[in-house]
Every structure is written in C-alpha cells, then in structure tokens.
Symmetry: C5
Subunit: 259 residues, 5 copies
C-alpha cells in the first residue's frame, strides 16, 4: 500500500474541506448536478477518443497509485551478477536450471534466448521491442488520465457559463442572484479540483511508476546482453551499479564487486 498517495489524496481533500469550512460554505460546495456535469461530462468525452475497454478500465488503472511497486533494483543487480559469474565459470548452458525458478518473466525470456544460443543483436531487438510496447501501453493510460485532467476544467467552465446564462436571462429576483452565481461557480471549483487535486497528480504517479519499471527492465536488458557477450562479471557489476542511487550502491557494492 502506497501511504504517500493516501496522504496526498485524503490530505488534499481535507485541506479543501477546511478552507470551505473556515469560509463558512462547506454545505454550499456539495452539489450533485454540478458533479455530474463536470465529472460526468468530461468522462463521457473520453469515450469519443479511446476504445471502450480503455475508458472503462481507467478507474482500475488510477487505483494503481495506491499500490506500491517494488522493481527490486538491488536484488536485480545481485542476481544478474551471480548469473554472469556462473555462466563464466560453468558455461552458458549452466543457466538453464536457474531460469526455471525465476519469477521475473522478462528476465527469464531474455535468458532463455541466451541459453538457446540466439544472436545478441536479435535478443536486443526482441527485448527492446517488448519494452517499447509495454511503455506504449502505459502511455495510452497516462494520456487518458491527462485527457481527463484537461477536459474536467473545460466542463467546469462550461457549467459555469451555462449557469451564468440562466441567471442573466432572468434577473428579476435580485435576492437569488448571489446564490445562483454561487451554484454556477461550483462547477468551476469541481473542474479545477479534479485537475489539480486528482488527475494531474495521479497521472504524474503513473508516469513515475512507468519510469521506474522501464529503468529496471533496461537493467535486465543490459545484464542479459552482457551475459550473452561473455563480459567480465566485474564490468557487468560496475555497469549495473551506475543505475543505483549512491545509497543503494554503497549497500551492495562490496557484495557484487568482490574480486
């Protein structure tokens, strides 16, 4: 469970509620038709752009911000270096049994290609192609959330303009002028909140998760190709260490760089 996302989403909502409370307008901010116009209208427009299955899956994908993903970079380095040492000592075929137990499907597929004696350039093409396609799929999701983030304030503004037109067409009752205008503004508020509090930060997190996953897979590609080429395990270890933060690097440096 990703505690930071909880802090962000519930904390942000709390701050807005506090603001409304201290401004004495907490009740006036909750208006179901306004929510329907802003949230529903912008959501429906997503259907025009994206296939049905994508739009319906967006809530599921946005829920990913609450999950923690561990791409285990430190363990990755240690595993790849140990494979490299084994391959050097006992030959590439010795990796066959190691591969059976691997959880990481991407690494397993790559190493199987190595064991099968596939050409290095072909392995690189296959693995990079797969990585690019994965990133492409992630990008569709991120673009989808971004599209919502842009449409929401657009529909918020639309709702306010519609409210203003209704109000201005009928100015006789001066006493209802203020409250009517207040209601009109609620859609602007909802649109702006959806953008600033929800969709932009969520799309940012999805992008961050994607960049972490891409980075860990680039490490796997680098490692698998290094094993295929029969590089010195020490050089591989050094290459892998450059991907880690200085702190993580310190933690495992002595381990993987053992002479």
């Amino acid at each position: 469970m990703d505690i930071a996302s909880f802090i962000g989403i519930f904390g942000g909502l709390g701050v807005v509620a506090f603001g409304a409370f201290s401004g004495g307008s907490l009740g006036g901010l909750i208006d179901i038709p306004s929510l329907f116009i802003t949230g529903g209208g912008s959501f429906l427009c997503l259907f025009t752009t994206y296939p049905l299955s994508y739009v319906l899956g967006i809530f599921n994908v946005m829920g990913r911000v609450f999950k923690t993903f561990d791409f285990g970079e430190k363990a990755l380095v240690q595993k790849l270096v140990s494979f490299s040492e084994k391959a050097r000592r006992e030959g590439i075929l010795a990796l066959e049994e190691e591969i059976q137990d691997l959880d990481d499907e991407f690494m397993r597929a790559g190493l199987r290609l190595v064991v099968d004696g596939t050409d290095g350039e072909v392995i690189r093409t296959l693995m990079e192609n797969e990585l690019n396609q994965m990133e492409g799929r992630h990008m569709v999701w991120i673009t989808l959330v971004n599209a919502w983030a842009t449409l929401a304030p657009g529909f918020g503004m639309l709702g306010t303009v519609i409210g203003l037109i209704g109000m201005l067409s009928n100015l006789e009752d001066k006493s209802s002028l203020g409250p009517n205008m207040a209601v009109s503004l609620v859609t602007t508020l909802y649109g702006s909140m959806m953008q600033n509090w929800l969709f932009v930060p969520i799309s940012g997190k999805l992008g961050y998760q994607n960049s972490m996953e891409v980075k860990s897979r680039e490490m796997v590609i680098e490692g698998v190709l290094s094993i295929q080429a029969g590089d010195n395990p020490r050089i591989l270890a050094q290459k892998m260490l450059t991907y880690l933060t200085p702190k993580d690097r310190k933690a495992i440096e002595s381990d993987v760089m053992k002479d």
Copy 2:
C-alpha cells in the same frame, strides 16, 4: 460502428443539456446567429490555411470516429509467420501464388518486391517511405481538426466581446442588460463546447486510429524484411508477438510458436 464514439458524443451533449435544463436555461442556449458566428467563423478561417479539398473533406474525416477499424494484428502475425515458414520450406518464389489472394495491399506490394528479388535495403526504403507519406496525410487531417479546436473558442470569445461592446454602447435600458449579456455569453459557450466536447476528442480518436494503423504497418514491414532475409520463422514469430498486448499474445502464442 464504433459504439464508444456514440456514447462520447451523444452522452456529452446530453450532460450539457441536462445542465442547462437543471439551470433552467435550456431555451436560452439555442441561438442560431451565435452558432453561425462561432462555428461558421472558425470554419471559414480554415480555408485560409488549407486547400479547398481538405477543408471540404473535414466532415467526412471526422465521421471516421464512428467507424470501427480493425487492423487485425493477430491475423497479421499468423499470416506473416505462415508465409515465412512456406518461404523457408519451398523457397521465396513459392509465395507468388499466396500474394494473389492478399487483401492487404501494403503487404502484397511488399511481398511482391521480395518475390521479385529486390534488395532488402530498397524494400525497407520503399515501404517506410510509403508509411511516412500515409502518416503525413493523416497528420494534415489531424492538424486541421486541431486548428478548428483552437479557432472555435477564439471566435466564441470574439462573439462575446462584440456582444459586450454592443451592450455597453447602449446601457439606457437596464432591464435588457442581463438578457443581452446572456446572449453574448452563448458564443463563449459554443466555442468552449466545440473544443472540449467535439474537436479535441475527435482529433484524439483520429490520432489513435492513425497510431494503430502505423503500428500494424510497422509489423508488416518487419515481417516482410524478415522473410526477405530468410530469418528463422521462430524468431519472426517472437518479434511479431512483442507487438501484441499480453492478452492477444497468449491467445496465439502456442499457435505461431509451434516448434
């Protein structure tokens, strides 16, 4: 028929109508001169930028969002792998008769070049050139819809400013002030709706359709060149599978990777 686009376009319109109805201003939102200024004015400005035939064709192109396009990626993989196997078994010339029946003009042209013994580098240049030109033509259309998406709120704002100037020049009749301003705002509403509800989502869909088509053609190029180079059909199958979603891949993996 693309059901999602129907949901998006008619659903979005319905939400706006509901908003107007619940705000009691449904009648006040329909104003033909305002529609003419916003939609007509911005449409006419497209003529300044693009050739006649393009601007007149824009409604046709926008209608594409209601059509479903199936670039049949799974069938593509199976076909290319079976061609590759045949070429390996019986020689490249054996593909000649297969080509006759191909519906896919792009693949047929590519394979004919292979059968004719054209050099691989030349085939790549020809096929990529054709793909780039196709994408270039699509991009002109997408840019055209985007241009309209930008001009529409510009003309909406223009209409509102014109209305305000007319209203302010003649303030004597206080009672007509509100309704006049309401009418002025209708063009802003139309401009914003055209952008958020119509043109931006439609341009997004056209872009999505283009990216799917480009991807399927890249698969064809990859496959044709692989056949020309006499690659192992198994390697080709693996390359092709990386283009598919994990679900699609599962579905045909056992089929094309048969040993």
Copy 3:
C-alpha cells in the same frame, strides 16, 4: 489565385460583421485609434526583433496566401523517371542537352553536378544544404507572422487596460461609463481578430506552402541521387510514387512503371 484564401479571409470578416450587425454594434466596432494601437503597436515591436528589410517585406510575404503554387509533383516524377531511363540507355552525358531546357533551377543545378561527374555524397550535401537554407529563410518569415500573431492580442489587452485606467480615474460621469468601456474593449476585439482571423491562418498557410515545396525538393534530391548512382529506373519510379497521394499515384502509375 488561391480561391480558398479569399473564402477564408473575406468570409471570416463577413461573419464577424454579421455578428456585429445582428448585435447592433456595427458602427461601434470601427475605431481608428484602436486599430492604430493594436495593429500599429504590435507591428512596430516586430522592428525590435527582425532586420528592417524583413519587417517591411512581411505584407508582401503574407500576400503569398492568395497565390497558388504548383510544385507539380506528378510531372516531377515523370521527368525524373524519363531522365533516369535516358541516362541508363545512353549514359549520363546524354542528359546534358535535356538540362538546358529545364525550368526547375534546383533540378538543373543537381543534374549538372551529376553530368560533371561530382561525387554522390558531395551532391547530397550541396542539395540538402540548399534545401535547408531555403527552409530556414521561409521559417524566418513564418516566425515573423507568428510573432505578430502573439503580439497583436497583447497590444489589444494593453489598449483595454489603458482604456479602463482612463475610465476608472474619472468615474463622475456615470452615463459615459458604458460607452467608454465599450471603446476600451474594441482593442481586445481587434487583437483577438488579428490573431484568430488573420495571422494564425496566414502563418499556417505559409507553413503548408513551405512543406509542399520542401517535399517536392526532397523528391528531386532523391531522383537526382538515384540517377547519379545508376539505379534501375523502375526502382526510382517506385520510390517517387510513394511520395504521391493514392489518387495521383493511380493517375501516373501505369505511365512510369511501364516495364
């Protein structure tokens, strides 16, 4: 004469005039000092950025949107393929006399280099350099029009703020409040119109014309280099055809692909 540009510019103006007329403010929209502040002020600022000759030439360049340019892509393909065939049949020197009559200076210069026996790589560098420089010069013009498109609404807003300040400093005469504010808004209207109705569409057209010219020159470079390399005219024809729209291609395919 480019009829589309006429439709765009005069049609767009007509729509705005119709809007003003139907809002009863046609007279109030014409204000020479406002035009001077918005159009003149933004135009003068262009002098700060660009050399004298460029700024003074901008009206001339913008006038190009009314001219039709025909880069004759179909004829280009036919000519280059016929040259290629002749060079193959009778040797490259046989092109010497053909070159004399060529109107297209760019193609002539390129083919003369071929006849002179210049190295292919040098020809490519020279021709691409020339193409890049031409595009660079076009880009300065397009940037200039874009700069005006950005400055015009800036000065429009400036004029409105100046008008508001004048009006607010002197609020005694309530009856003149409305008309004064109306006049202030006219500069906003002019700035927005210059941007949406004039400069953005014109800059778009200049960009479109440039992209067509660049494409036709790329075809010439491709063709000239193909002739220099002694490629098969059939391959050249196929390469050239990929640049054409499907319709144009159909029209001349049988002609240039004759066996």
Copy 4:
C-alpha cells in the same frame, strides 16, 4: 553562501511588502488559513505523485539555492592536462599514485578504470551511464519543484473560488462584501507569489546548478578518455579550453598550452 539567492528571495519579498504597504493593505495580506490552503494543499498533492522520501526532502533540496557550488573548471583543466603529460612521459601506470589523493570521486573512478587497462568504449559507457543517472536524479527534484510551482496557483485559484461561493451564498450583509472578497483574493495572491517569487526561480537555479555539474563531468569524461587513448596533451588542453568562458580561458591558456 550564494549571495545572489538571498538578494532574489528577500529582495523579492521586500518589494511585495513595499507594494502592500504603499497600497495600505499590509495587514490584510497575512492570513494563516489562506496560506494553509494554498501552500499546504498544493504541497499535499505532491505526495500523490512522488515517493514519501522525495517529497519530505524537497525543503532540503530547495535549500541548495543558498549554497555556492564550485565545480572548479579551471583547476579541472590543469589537473587533467598534467595527468595527460605524466601518462605520456611515464606511462599510464604512473597515474596510480596520483589517483589516491584525488578528492573528485568521479574522476578517480574514471582514472582507476584507465589504470586497470579497461577498454575505452567500456569506460565511456560506465562514465556516461553514471552521469545520466545523476542527471536523472536531479531532474526528479527539479520536476518536483516545478510540480509545486504549477499546483500552487491552482490551489490559490481554488481558494478564491471557494471564498467567492461562500460570499455569494450569503449576500445579505452588504458591508462585509468587500472584506470577504479581499480575503478570497489572498489565496490567489499567495499562489501567484509562490509560483513567481519562489518555486520557478528556485527550480531555475537547481537547473542551472545541474547544467554546471553536468558540464564539468563531461569535461572529466572527455579528459579521462583522452588520457586512455594516449592523445597528445596539447590536443587535450585545446579541447578542455573550449569548455571555458573566454575570460577563464585567457587566465590559464599560457599555463596549459606550454609547448
């Protein structure tokens, strides 16, 4: 201590205070709930996007604008040229003892690879990888500050809309209308100040510091590879000098270019 950052941050605040004082509203600008909504709300939203440790570390990172960083480019050139001369005169192994005393960890690691006889291409990969990862980490921080710079005015606007809604729902007391609206505007002011006075300039400085550090490391990579390749120290000196400003270059030119 970076005196310029002090001038910028405290001077900028002083100017705003002066403006408020001369407008007679200094007291009215300080409102703790408004600060909490604008600053707190936007800060909390950062948690949704970034991992806990990053968000909590942001104040520390922003504090870097007050520190001066000296990447010592002049000394770098002199050191690398002297190493190059020594390696040429006494062989690469002679650098071993020099390396012990080096403070610059990046240069030391690079030179040790040279002394160990590592291949030049491998050294380049390792060093560039490390540089890219460092820049990637810096970029996350800069993006984080930029995200705050974008969210702050968003929450400022949100606060104002909330205030307006509260005010408009309750228009009876005309006398409190002005002050209530004034309070609503304070969040807009805070959001705009955080963006213009604080976060955008700070993110700019972090970007500047990063570009300086990247440049100095590129010099080290260039120098280390030049030593590995056994280049003429004079050529290395010339390469290094191109990285310096004309003034710095003058200062050490005679020193490192001694014949």
Copy 5:
C-alpha cells in the same frame, strides 16, 4: 547602430503614449511605486536563478539590440575560397602568412590547426565544441531575458491583486473606488508592456543575432575542414554559396566560381 531596434522600441512606446493620450489618461499611467513593484520585483527574482555577474550584465546584453553586427558572409566566402585556391596551388603551409593578418579569431585558430597538420576529425571536434560553448553562453543570456519576460506580467498581476485587496478591505469611501482600482491596474499594464514591448522582442533579436553568428561560424568550420581535406576549391565555393541568400549569391557567384 541598428535603426530597426530604435524604431521598434521608441515607436512602440510612442503608440502606447498616443493610446493613453487619446484615452485621456496619460498622467494616470505614470506611477513610480507600480514601476518599482513590477520591474523591480521581477528583476530581483532573476537573482534567485542566475549568478550575480549574469544578472548585473543583463542591461549590457540587452543593449546589444541597438548595435549592428555584420558577420560578413559574402566576404567570408571569398576569403575561404581564395585560401582554398592558395592551399591547392602552393600547399597548406603557404597559408601560414595569410593567417597572421586575419581579424577573425575563430577562423585563424581553425586554420592554424590545419597548418599545424592536425587531424581533420580533431579540428572538427575542437571547432564545433567551441561553437557549442559560445551558443550555450548566448542561450543563458536569452533564457535570462525570457525569464524576465515571464516574471514581469506575473508581478504585474501580483501588484493588481495586492491593490484590489487593499481597495476591497476598505470600501467605505465610494468616490475613491475608481481611482484606486485604476492605480491597481497600472501594474498589470506595466507587466504586460515589459513583456510585449520590451523583453520578448529583445530576446527575439538576441536569438536572431545568435543564429546569424552560429551560421557564419558553421561556414568557417565547413571551409576550414574543406581546406584541410584538400577539396577542390570549386566544390568549396558551391558549398559556401548554398549558405547565402539568393541575392547575395548572385552578387558573388561569378567571382568565386571562376573556372
């Protein structure tokens, strides 16, 4: 002296003054505290981002828009072609004495490398590196002016919000309402003017001057490398001519292309 910049800056100011005069508010537009808040506040924020010496040098750099720079492209072509001919006729060492008298430091340094017998690839690296560093330094200045162009309207808006807050907190005196609001708007006016009339055009000019200088240096690099490689002076002349405008090319074509 660059007459165009004078026209732009003083003409633009004159148009704004005319607008203020015709709106009867010339006196009301001059307000020293407003100038201090908008110009001073935004200027001080630059200190947070850039080193002291850069910020203090900005006025000097902006003064460059009034200077004319002649990068003498025509003379450049003639000189490089004549050097090329001499080197071909009398050998590269014959250039030694020509170099002594060269004013252009960049060309002199390049040619000295040629005379010293430096390798072509090394010369290219050294010269391009130097060009990139020069462009990098220019870019810091241009970015600095752009930063000011963005901050100025930000502080203008800040000043207006501060003024509005002061005014709204104290609504008793209705008669001062208008003038107070007028004063508030003056900072918006100043911010917008600084951006549209001053900083954006000036930054544009600095960018234009930079692009001209970069282009002339690219010509020198091309020419020096061509001389080093012993290319035919005729080919060099043709390469150089592609950099010139059609008009300039006509003027010297017969001169440098003499057989």
